[in-house]
């Protein structure tokens, strides 16, 4: 069961030496580990999308987050329950 987050809310991410170490969202801060990551660059001919995706796992959360390389913002896209 996953939750797709429509708004892709901005989240706080802690990065240590290039590695995502913790995420914070909805008053919750959780240390995480990255289990997969990839990059997409899309639709440059329309409105460019360039994101670095990270699948992170913590004690409570398995989440898909991404770094928006255009706006330089972090967002939460999906939460796996």
């Amino acid at each position: 069961m996953t939750r797709l987050l429509r708004g892709h809310p901005p989240i706080r991410v802690e990065v240590d030496d290039g590695r995502v170490v913790a995420i914070a969202w909805a008053d919750r801060h959780e240390p995480v580990e990255v289990c997969n990551h990839w990059r997409i660059e899309e639709s440059w001919w329309r409105a460019p999308i360039a994101r670095d995706y990270f699948k992170v796992v913590g004690e409570h959360w398995l989440a898909l987050i991404y770094f928006d390389r255009v706006a330089s913002t972090w967002h939460l896209e999906r939460l796996y329950d």
């Binding site: 429509r6 990551h37 999308i49 360039a50």
Partner: protein
């Protein structure tokens, strides 16, 4: 293994990219080899391997570019195998996919054929459709098929010369086994040709990765084992990367990381497998473009390849933009090199680091030298006891004794000198090969002549290669060949275009097919192809793309912008916001109210691609109910008042007609569809430009790296729209920037001024690709940008018009070959330039239409007049011929028929063959740009004295009256005046032409200047001026030897045109396409010269055009006319009667007017037999569209059987399709059946309908026309008379004329303008023939545009040749006139021109002020309404003019 420098300090790894694609991967690579090499040097790569798909097309260029850039070139390819290395029962490696449209076929183990059901015959297997003449399908349709659905990849690199040979053989064999552009690489083939090759596992699409990705580790291991066994393992070695493995290993596992989801895992798996099996690993990046931003072009190319738009490409595109050329540092920075990764998986991290270093070592171990000089001569068999040189000199001396009487010491001295040079340069065989070709041509009666620099040598003359005597014509041997020359001498031999193939076949036979190949011609993207394909890929609707492509004048894709900006119909799309029209206001409404077209060209009501965010790209349901509707923000912005630029305020309510051509322009022209016109109309005012700067746009530099902490909130900058309305994509993801921040993405070229990529290029800026990301450009801007970037990209191969490569070593060891479209013809994957670079020998065997025309003319003369003319022995000083040339009566004559030539001939008045050589050479860009033409003409006419800059120039420039006309003169000036050696002078000439480098030019300039100053009486100013003149001449001039060869042919064709106009016309028509004018002009010109031209008639015409006896004119029979046409009318014989439909009212008498020369009886008596005047021309059936060479034999044979008597007879005997017979009826070819045309058309359907089934009779002939179906039982089959046609009105003259023009593009009886003559008289227009007598001043003329020219040298001036029934006149449109009238002139072929008549020494010119469409004007003037065929002339004219 990290390399250590000599000081012992660890160096950063020297990375070399071993797997990359250039644009020679045909739509799979987005950068040129030069870009790749340049970028590799910038990044500090130690080596670069360009491994294009399945071919070695770019290797020569790449090797040159890489050496120039200082990067070690590695030659390689990436092949697509059709079979797996290890058993692949699951179809993992070679996936099953549809092999042709409409059905999937299972791969893998063949399934047994289903047994036929009892009692039923086995179902026949459907054959694939094949084009006639092809042994198999031309090209597999790979559109829509992703790489992963195709065969597995394998990268092969040549370690040394042996490896290169293996590559050539492998590619050649695979191509010969396959079909055109579909080579068949198999493991069996690899096993035969792997010597000297290194193999890399092929990355993600390699067999090993494919197996690993589906979990087939055992299969992967088996495949690796097989490859390693084939290509060789390193010696005993334990850990990965240790020892000197790369130097000996033949197979490498490729590690690549493109930041894809499972790349970490895949790299680890690969590394583990390599470690297990003790194989070395290399890192590659499977590069498809040089720089990150080229990714956009790569996507467009992928769209073009698959025939899809960017939006519909989906997974066929690469998901990210990581396939660019990366530096060693960037490779280290990828995740496997990351410290975090090393922590988690130290083994893989170590392998990655070592593999990066190994890549550099592998590149360093590959040494291929593409120098094949030692293989260049195929060996020429000479008689026993002779060497090539002794045989050559024997032939030359024998030839000299034959040609020179007496053999002067000058000749002997020169021949001895040339032979000496040839011996020292080792070129004897080269001359023998050329001599042998000419000998063959002569034996076979194939017209041939040597041309180009070859003609300047006495060796060529004595061997019969050239026909121009070099001493008499003062031709310089050093131009052709000298001892300092580094490039190969070029010899071009022209053969009759009709028989060139025989010579090619001879070369194949003589030197063997394994030593002979045709050089390829790389067809590259030009303006139209670029506009079309890029336009489709970007999603522009087809009608619009067609319309834009048709509006182009240029062939240069870089110039597309200039062309479209100049065109009234498109200018506004490139207007800067605020510069012209209101922008988006009202666009949506306007667009919705009009019928628009979708991507398939179908009309619909959807809004096409306008503005930044087309409506169909908007989400179907906005998240927020209050979110704006498409374009609503425009309305809001409008309502909110003027924006920052204030542009909307000034906008008038309705768009003003800004188009210079006026409203009539967007009515569209012929070729426009209603959809494209609607587009244009609606397009105006939609403002395709970048939307005006809106509040809320954020301009950023390159975003910070992912490692930065925390996301910054979207910074809402001040402005009316504090929070831009959120836009969401289909998946509901927020798009936080709106509109896109220009150049903000990391895809951009490293930041820079973000505004620069948005700003529209200034009109005066030189058009060129701007580079960088196209993000932020409007759709139109982007379209043009990609057109400019794709310019010159190779698109496909074709056979070069005549380059033959002849080699000593077997060709497939030196150059890869592949199948050509033509059956059994192979073509080398190298083009002309590459072959020169490789210093291989190339013979240019060109087809020249004029030689075919002259040949046919001579044969006809022999047949018709029983006279055999030997053109080689034709006197060079026939005065009548020069009189004709001086009168510029040269339509159809070789080289001097063009508009520009006809304008200069009356001024230069050539009176000898040497003058004609000047004439041929002078109308060239070189003399025109060097301002040599007018001084020469004035001096020639005695209007100014002949002067020389310096007395030392007099011997050099005496022939050309003090101006520089030939390349030889440049060299002679360098030798005689500036003191260069002959070898230096040739280098000087070429450097002048190419401007290779400023430093080199400076050096030569200094040398030239110093040399000149040594001449007595030379001043600084004169030396500088001389240098200026010489450099302005550059390389655009002809070599004199070249001009001399052409002048000779021009002279011969003039003779034939003058004395045998009918035969010459036939020769010209049958040799089409050739020359400057369409057939119609040639026919009309011949008619004006008294040649009866008979229309196409099925009962009289054979397939080809031919001559027909029409009877002699009176003045020949009376024998009374003088050469000037004077004769006593009373004694004039009436002449033989002209046949019906002869096309001329009466035969003109001999005249020598300013525009028409017809020789009289006295001249004819000297040069022709009497009968020559009695022949007319019968147009052939080949002129009718739909009748091609395949019908020739049948039609000629049927005519020989007897005349056709009825329509049914025609249908039955010719077997032509209904539409072709309809064309025959409409053109009058069936008038001889004696029935009115409308009746024949009435009956046609009935007759063809009947005989398509079965024809009752026909005997043996029927069998050749395929099997007959069951009898249809229609009236024809039962031999019943055809249904009576109702009383139909007879065809009118305008209808007849229209039909004739529509079907054959000309009418034998009347020129189309005669139809409008009454109207033209009413309008006060004068016929062209009257212009010569008219006072200069305002004039109105009407005519058909037969040619339209935009000479590069004329700076925007356009010239039209306008023909009416009485003659042709040159119309000049100055650039401003052209800009104003462009729309009309481009869209109509029948024009009414108002202008000023100018006359200068009998050269008539009309300077146009206004041009209108004649059909419209005539209609308003009460003239005839043009019939459909004539109306379409506009279209036909456009097509004809390209």
């Amino acid at each position: 293994m990290v390399a250590e420098s000599q000081t012992g300090e660890p160096m950063s790894p020297t990375y070399a990219e071993l797997h990359s694609h250039s644009n020679f991967s045909f739509l799979h690579g987005a950068s040129t080899v030069d870009d790749m090499a340049e970028r590799a040097a910038e990044l500090g790569l130690s080596g670069l391997a360009v491994t294009d798909h399945d071919g070695l097309y770019g290797v020569v260029r790449f090797a040159t570019a890489a050496r120039a850039a200082g990067v070690r070139p590695v030659i390689g390819i990436e092949i697509e195998l059709i079979d797996p290395a290890a058993p692949d029962s699951a179809g993992v490696v070679v996936p099953a996919r549809r092999t042709s449209r409409g059905g999937a076929r299972k791969r893998g183990p063949a399934l047994p054929e289903p047994a036929p059901a009892e009692g039923l015959p086995a179902r026949p297997r459907a054959e694939r459709a094949r084009l006639p003449g092809h042994r198999s399908v031309v090209k597999e349709d790979l559109r829509g098929i992703a790489e992963r659905q195709r065969g597995p990849h394998l990268v092969l690199l040549a370690r040394d010369a042996t490896g290169y040979r293996s590559l050539c053989r492998l590619v050649s064999r695979a191509n010969l086994d396959g079909t055109k552009r579909v080579p068949r690489f198999t493991h069996a083939l690899l096993e035969q040709h792997h010597e000297g090759l290194l193999a890399l596992s092929g990355g993600r699409e390699g067999e090993i990765a494919r197996r690993l990705l589906v979990g087939d580790r055992a299969g992967a291991r088996a495949a690796v084992e097989r490859y390693a066994t084939l290509f060789g393992r390193a010696g005993a070695r334990a850990p990965v990367g240790a020892g000197d493995a790369p130097a000996t290993a033949g197979f490498f596992i490729e590690l690549a990381h493109h930041l894809l989801p499972d790349d970490d895992w895949l790299v680890a798996e690969h590394a583990a497998l390599a470690a297990e099996l003790g194989l070395p690993v290399v890192v590659t990046n499977d590069v498809h473009y040089a720089r990150p931003e080229d990714r956009e072009l790569h996507d467009v190319l992928t769209g073009i390849f698959h025939g899809r738009t960017l939006d519909t490409l989906g997974a066929l595109r690469r998901p990210d933009g990581e396939s660019y050329l990366k530096s060693g540092g960037e490779m280290v920075a990828l995740p496997p090199g990351d410290p975090a990764f090393a922590h988690a998986d130290p083994r893989t991290a170590r392998a990655w680091a070592e593999a990066i270093a190994t890549s550099g070592e592998v590149a360093a171990s590959c040494t291929v030298d593409l120098g094949f000089e030692q293989y260049r001569f195929p060996g020429f068999p000479v008689p026993g006891g002779e060497t090539a040189f002794s045989y050559l000199s024997e032939l030359c001396w024998a030839g000299a004794r034959r040609r020179y009487h007496p053999l002067t010491s000058e000749v002997m001295k020169r021949l001895a000198h040339e032979l000496g040079v040839i011996e020292r340069a080792g070129l004897a065989e080269f001359f023998l090969i050329c001599w042998d070709l000419m000998r063959f041509a002569k034996e076979q009666g194939i017209p041939a002549q040597g041309r180009g620099s070859a003609t300047s040598s006495i060796v060529s003359y004595t061997l019969g290669i050239s026909r121009v005597e070099p001493i008499q014509h003062n031709l310089l041997f050093e131009r052709f060949i000298n001892e300092g020359r580094t490039t190969y001498p070029d010899v071009d031999i022209d053969f009759s275009s009709a028989r060139r193939e025989e010579v090619i076949q001879y070369v194949y036979r003589r030197y063997g097919p394994e030593h002979t190949g045709m050089v390829c011609n790389l067809v590259t993207y030009r303006a139209r192809s670029a506009v079309r394909e890029v336009g489709y890929a970007l999603g522009f609707p087809r009608p619009l793309v067609d319309r834009v492509a048709k509006a182009l004048e240029t062939y240069d894709s870089v110039m597309v912008r200039r062309d479209l900006e100049a065109d009234g119909g498109f200018a506004e799309f490139f207007r800067r916001p605020g510069e012209g029209l209101p922008a988006e206001a009202g666009a949506a409404e306007a667009a919705h109210s009009l019928g628009f077209v979708d991507g398939m060209g179908q009309l619909n009501t959807r809004m096409p691609l306008v503005g930044k965010v087309p409506p169909w790209r908007q989400p179907p349901k906005p998240v927020d109910p209050a979110a704006p509707r498409p374009f609503a923000w425009l309305g809001a912005a409008n309502a909110a008042g003027p924006s920052a630029s204030g542009m909307w305020e000034e906008a008038p309510e309705s768009p003003p007609a800004v188009r210079p051509g006026g409203r009539a322009d967007d009515e569209g022209g012929p070729g426009d569809t209603p959809a494209s016109v609607a587009w244009l109309r609606a397009g105006r005012g939609t403002g395709y430009g970048v939307p005006p700067a809106r509040p809320g746009i954020r301009v950023r530099g390159e975003g910070p790296a992912p490692g930065t902490v925390d996301g910054r909130a979207i910074d809402p900058e001040s402005g009316a729209l504090e929070q831009p309305p959120r836009k969401t994509d289909r998946l509901g993801r927020p798009v936080m920037w709106d509109p896109p921040a220009p150049a903000a993405s990391a895809m951009g070229r490293g930041g820079g001024d973000p505004k620069s990529s948005v700003a529209r290029i200034e009109p005066e800026a030189p058009p060129q690709a701007r580079g960088g990301s196209t993000v932020g450009m409007s759709d139109w801007e982007r379209w043009l940008e990609f057109c400019a970037r794709i310019d010159g990209f190779p698109r496909h191969l074709s056979i070069h018009s005549g380059g033959m490569l002849v080699t000593a070593a077997p060709l497939i060891d030196i150059a890869p070959i592949e199948r050509a479209t033509m059956q059994d013809r192979v073509v080398v994957q190298f083009d002309k330039r590459d072959v020169e670079e490789l210093k291989l020998i190339k013979l240019d065997l060109l087809g020249l239409g004029m030689l075919a025309a002259i040949d046919e003319t001579l044969q006809l003369i022999e047949h018709d007049c029983a006279t055999c003319i030997d053109v080689d022995r034709m006197p060079e000083d026939i005065p009548e011929v020069f009189r004709m040339i001086q009168a510029a009566d040269t339509v159809g004559v070789f080289q001097i028929e063009s508009r520009a030539q006809m304008q200069t001939l009356p001024k230069s008045r050539p009176g000898s063959l040497d003058d004609l050589v000047v004439e041929v050479a002078i109308i060239r860009p070189g003399p025109i740009q060097g301002n040599a033409v007018h001084p020469y003409l004035r001096r020639r006419q005695g209007l100014e004295p002949v002067t020389y800059l310096h007395p030392s120039l007099e011997p050099v420039l005496r022939d050309s009256k003090g101006v520089i006309l030939y390349q030889e003169q440049v060299m002679r000036i360098a030798i005689d005046v500036a003191g260069f050696t002959p070898a230096e002078s040739d280098g000087f000439r070429r450097a002048m032409g190419t401007w290779r480098s400023t430093r080199e030019m400076e050096k030569l300039h200094q040398q030239f200047h110093d040399g000149c100053m040594r001449q007595p009486g030379m001043t600084e100013e004169v030396a500088e001026e001389l240098f200026r003149q010489v450099s302005a001449f550059a390389s655009f001039g002809f070599a004199k030897s070249h001009a001399a060869a052409f002048a000779r042919t021009a002279y011969e064709s003039s003779f034939l045109k003058l004395f045998y106009p009918a035969q010459f016309l036939v020769g010209l028509i049958n040799a089409q396409p050739m020359g400057f004018y369409p057939v119609e002009v040639l026919v009309n010109d011949a008619k004006r010269h008294g040649v009866a031209v008979l229309p196409v008639d099925l009962n009289a015409s054979i397939y080809a055009t031919g001559t027909e006896w029409v009877g002699q004119p009176g003045w020949v029979l009376a024998g009374a006319a003088g050469d000037d046409g004077s004769h006593d009318d009373e004694t004039l014989h009436p002449g033989e009667e002209l046949p019906e439909g002869a096309g001329i009212e009466a035969r003109p008498r001999p005249v020598r007017s300013s525009s028409c020369v017809i020789p009289g009886a006295a001249a004819r008596e000297r040069w022709t037999p009497e009968s020559a005047t009695g022949w007319g021309v019968r147009l052939g059936l080949h002129l009718v569209k739909g009748i091609g060479e395949q019908h020739a034999e049948l039609l000629d044979a049927e005519l020989a059987h007897g005349p056709y008597v009825s329509l049914a007879d025609v249908v039955e005997r010719t077997g032509l399709p209904e539409e072709t017979i309809e064309r025959l009826i409409r053109t009058g070819a069936l008038d001889s059946l004696g029935r009115p045309r409308r009746e024949l058309l009435w009956q046609l359907r009935e007759v063809t309908g009947a005989s398509r089934g079965s024809v009752g009779t026909g005997g043996a002939r029927r069998a050749t026309r395929g099997t007959a179906g069951p009898a249809a039982g229609r009236p024809m089959d039962l031999r019943l008379p055809a249904t009576e046609a109702p009383l139909l009105p007879a065809i009118t003259e305008p209808e007849r004329l229209g039909d004739a023009y529509a079907v054959v593009g000309l009418d034998a009886r009347h020129q189309v303008i005669s139809l409008f003559r009454d109207a033209l008289d009413r309008l006060g227009a004068v016929p062209n023939s009257a212009l010569a007598e008219r006072r200069p001043g305002p004039v109105r003329i009407g005519g058909l545009v037969v040619t339209r020219q935009h000479p590069m040298t004329a700076k925007g001036t356009v010239f039209l040749a306008l023909e009416d029934e009485s003659g042709m006149v040159n119309v000049t449109l100055w650039p401003d006139t052209w800009a104003r009238l462009r729309g009309v002139v481009r869209r109509h072929a029948l024009l009414l021109v108002d202008g000023d008549l100018q006359r200068e020494s009998s050269v008539v010119n009309v300077i146009a002020h206004d041009v209108r469409a004649l059909t419209d004007v005539a209609e308003r003037a009460g003239g005839p309404e043009a019939p459909a065929g004539v109306r379409q002339l506009g279209h036909a004219g456009m097509r004809r003019l390209g």
